[in-house]
């Protein structure tokens, strides 16, 4: 499907979604609580069939956190980027997509470790890289490391 | 039928194992195929590639002159902060004050030899040296000052 068709179909599914087409892919920006229903549709509907989650990450925009999911369909060869906006930066949480794409398990562990987003219904949420008792989340913009040496 | 398969397996396995042994046996008897370089012994004949990046050096000519104008492009280009240039004001023969380098500090322990400083340098004052034997007992010895004492800027590099 082309970006226009994707945009049209997704608008039917989720009218609140906004779009950003400035980049290479079609970006869909949705509120965080709409994530799982949309993702399930994107995975299971035959005309979408996004079976390959190739990049899962998060961006800290200071006033909100943005989860970014890069999706590819191996069948239809189309790409899409789903961005879920999390406004609660003090206690951010979002549904896990591990039930849809298994690769999400370790990737979400990583995001939890470095950004502090809690994933609901995640089978084994743990700090993947850092120690269990590490304070703070290093990839957040407001993270300060007291031990850092200024060059 | 079963027996044929059974002995066929044995035959093929033994054959494949013997092929492997033939190869290792070949190298065991052909000692001139040995590729080892005996490193500390071959220092005299060891030739590094001409672009080899061993360390950052600052060539001086026979009059103890270098080409560094102290523009600090390299310091800005360095991703690790391993270069620190301390400048001073020097009074020229015509009485004008000009910026010249005082010390060109190079932290080899922080350097990743990425070549970005050499590319950034507008006056080709620094080049990559070929020496790669950097091991020392004290980390402080890896902090180097590249401009020699009493060295001057080469004529005509500025402008």
């Amino acid at each position: 499907m082309t970006n226009e068709e994707l945009k049209y179909s997704i608008t039917e599914l989720l009218p609140v979604a906004t779009y950003d087409e400035s980049g290479e892919f079609l970006n869909i920006i949705i509120p965080s609580d709409e994530l799982i229903p949309l993702m399930k549709e994107l995975r299971s509907k035959k005309e979408f069939d996004f079976d390959y989650l190739f990049c899962l990450t998060c961006i800290d925009w200071k006033d909100h956190l943005m989860m970014v999911y890069h999706l590819l369909s191996k069948v239809h060869k189309h790409c899409i980027v789903v961005k879920a906006k999390i406004t609660d930066i003090q206690n951010p949480k979002i549904e896990s997509v591990n039930c849809i794409w298994k690769t999400a398990e370790l990737n979400e562990d990583e995001v939890y470790d470095l950004f502090g987003i809690r994933f609901l219904n995640h089978p084994n949420l743990r700090r993947l890289f850092l120690e269990e008792d590490w304070k703070g989340f290093p990839l957040r913009k407001n993270y300060v490391d007291e031990n850092m040496i200024k060059l | 039928m079963f027996l044929k398969e059974y002995f066929g397996t044995i035959f093929n396995s033994v054959k494949s194992l013997l092929t492997g042994m033939k190869l290792t046996g070949y190298y065991f008897t052909h000692l001139k195929e040995i590729v080892t370089e005996e490193y500390p012994d071959n220092r005299a004949t060891l030739k590094m590639a001409e672009r080899f990046r061993g360390e950052v050096t600052m060539p001086h000519n026979e009059n103890n002159e270098h080409r560094c104008t102290g523009c600090q492009s390299c310091e800005l280009a360095c991703p690790n902060g391993s270069i620190k240039i301390i400048t001073k004001q020097e009074i020229q023969a015509d009485g004008k004050k000009k910026k010249r380098i005082d010390t060109w500090v190079y932290h080899l322990d922080m350097c990743t030899l990425c070549n970005l400083c050499v590319i950034a340098c507008p006056s080709e004052a620094i080049v990559m040296g070929q020496n790669f034997e950097h091991s020392v007992y004290d980390k402080k010895q890896l902090k180097k000052i590249l401009n020699k004492t009493g060295s001057k800027l080469m004529e005509g590099v500025e402008e």
Binding site: S22, G23, E24, F25, N27, D51, Y52, L53, F54, C55, T57, I59, D60, V68, H70, K74, K77, V81, W101, K102, T103, E105, L106, N107, E110, L114, N124, L128, F129, L130, P138, L139 | N12, S13, S16, L17, T19, G20, K22, L23, T24, V35, A49, E50, R51, F52, R53, A77, P79, T112, L113, C114, N115, L116, I119, M128
Partner: protein, 372 residues
């Protein structure tokens, strides 16, 4: 007492830790394994022993500087990692590298892939207990590394790519030396077959071990030879060509078996394809500049840019979020090994400890790439 209750989980599994210091993990990978006898029930990876926070570091570095850090991720395909960064920056700037630079990049990338697969083959034998193949493969790998050293100045972490092209022109001897090495590799190819590929013990160790189905390979986000051995077509060079791969003739090696033996064969096939790519290009490097003009201080326009390349282990994605400044606002590396690692517990289910070593060897993990 020797084995107290703390060694055995509630499900009756005998827990052993493979790594972080273990001869077969090729680095500081830590796998917590639940065993029943010698049969693996469960694997839980624990990471971070070599985490250098490259993504955070990149937020402080300019677009010229951040490239060199990626050499330290997958150090065996350092060139290809650099290429990914450079291409991402070029895509954002809408600059195109000169034809000569493109050809040199592809040549270097394929040489790196060849060298990387050679190291994989060496370690493959080593992991299964045969030490000798290690040295035979390293002989050829050293020859390739010497060529790379001659042109780039370093052997492993080259940092040869710059936005717009390559840092230096190729060495005058480059073409001659590459042809010599290719001849040498072809002459010695039969040794690889005699020593490992044809060996009955080796085949028995790999066949039917570590099965990964096509659906699982896609779901776990596997890429590279690991996924292609399960029949997933995922060669970025074919699907999303970059740097002139679309003009080259090569095959995507696919295998549908999905076991360790299939992964082994796919990698061997890829070595042949790399040789063929190098042969097509080596006499046809276009004349001209090796670097396109770019500004001294690179500033990317606002927006996100994603660039993927095919490293020796799979799809590497560089995701740059720019706020218009001279440094990336957020830089994410989608590393192939991280996804491939997540499929290992699935592959190793019900296998023996010896099989796990074989599986890890065929998946060819590079730990710094997982930890970044």
């Amino acid at each position: 007492m020797l084995l107290g209750q703390d060694h055995i989980t509630e499900e009756g599994e005998f827990v052993i830790n493979m790594g972080p210091q273990h001869p077969a993990t090729h680095g500081v990978l830590h796998l917590k394994i639940g065993l029943d006898g010698e049969t693996i029930k469960k694997i839980e990876p624990h990471l971070g022993y070599i985490h250098r926070s490259i993504e955070k570091m990149c937020e402080q570095l300019s677009y010229r500087q951040f490239i060199f850090t990626t050499s330290r991720m997958d150090y065996l395909s350092a060139h290809i990692n650099n290429q990914a960064c450079v291409l991402a920056v070029e895509k954002a700037l809408q600059v195109e590298a000169t034809p000569r630079a493109k050809a040199i990049r592809v040549l270097m990338a394929e040489l790196t892939r060849l060298a990387s697969h050679q190291l994989w083959w060496a370690c493959m034998g080593l992991d299964l207990g045969a030490v000798t193949p290690f040295f035979y493969a390293f002989r050829e790998r050293e020859a390739i590394n010497t060529i790379i050293e001659e042109t780039c100045g370093t052997r492993l972490t080259q940092n040869y790519m710059v936005p717009g092209g390559v840092m230096m022109d190729i060495h005058p001897n480059f073409q001659k030396r590459v042809k010599e090495v290719l001849k040498q590799i072809k002459e010695k190819a039969h040794e690889y077959d005699e020593l490992l590929t044809g060996n009955v013990i080796f085949q028995q160790r790999l066949k039917g071990v570590g099965y990964l189905s096509k659906e699982d390979a896609v779901s776990y986000g596997c890429s590279g030879p690991t996924a292609r051995a399960s029949g997933v077509s995922c060669d970025v060079r074919k699907l999303f060509p970059y740097d002139g791969y679309e003009q080259l003739k090569f095959d995507e090696i696919l295998n549908t078996e999905g076991d360790s033996w299939a992964r082994y064969l796919v990698r061997l096939g890829e070595m042949k394809q790399s040789i063929s790519i190098i042969e097509q290009l080596i006499d046809n490097i276009p004349e001209g500049d090796f670097q396109a003009k770019t500004k001294n201080v690179i500033k990317l326009p606002k927006g996100d840019f994603y660039q993927r390349v095919e490293t020796a282990r799979g799809e590497l994605g560089v995701y740059i979020v720019s706020d218009g400044g001279a440094t990336p606002y957020r830089c994410k590396f989608r590393s192939p090994n991280f996804s491939n690692l997540s499929a290992i517990p699935k592959m190793a289910e019900g296998a023996k400890i010896g099989d796990l070593v074989a599986i890890m060897a065929t998946v060819d993990l590079v730990i710094p790439d997982i930890d970044r």
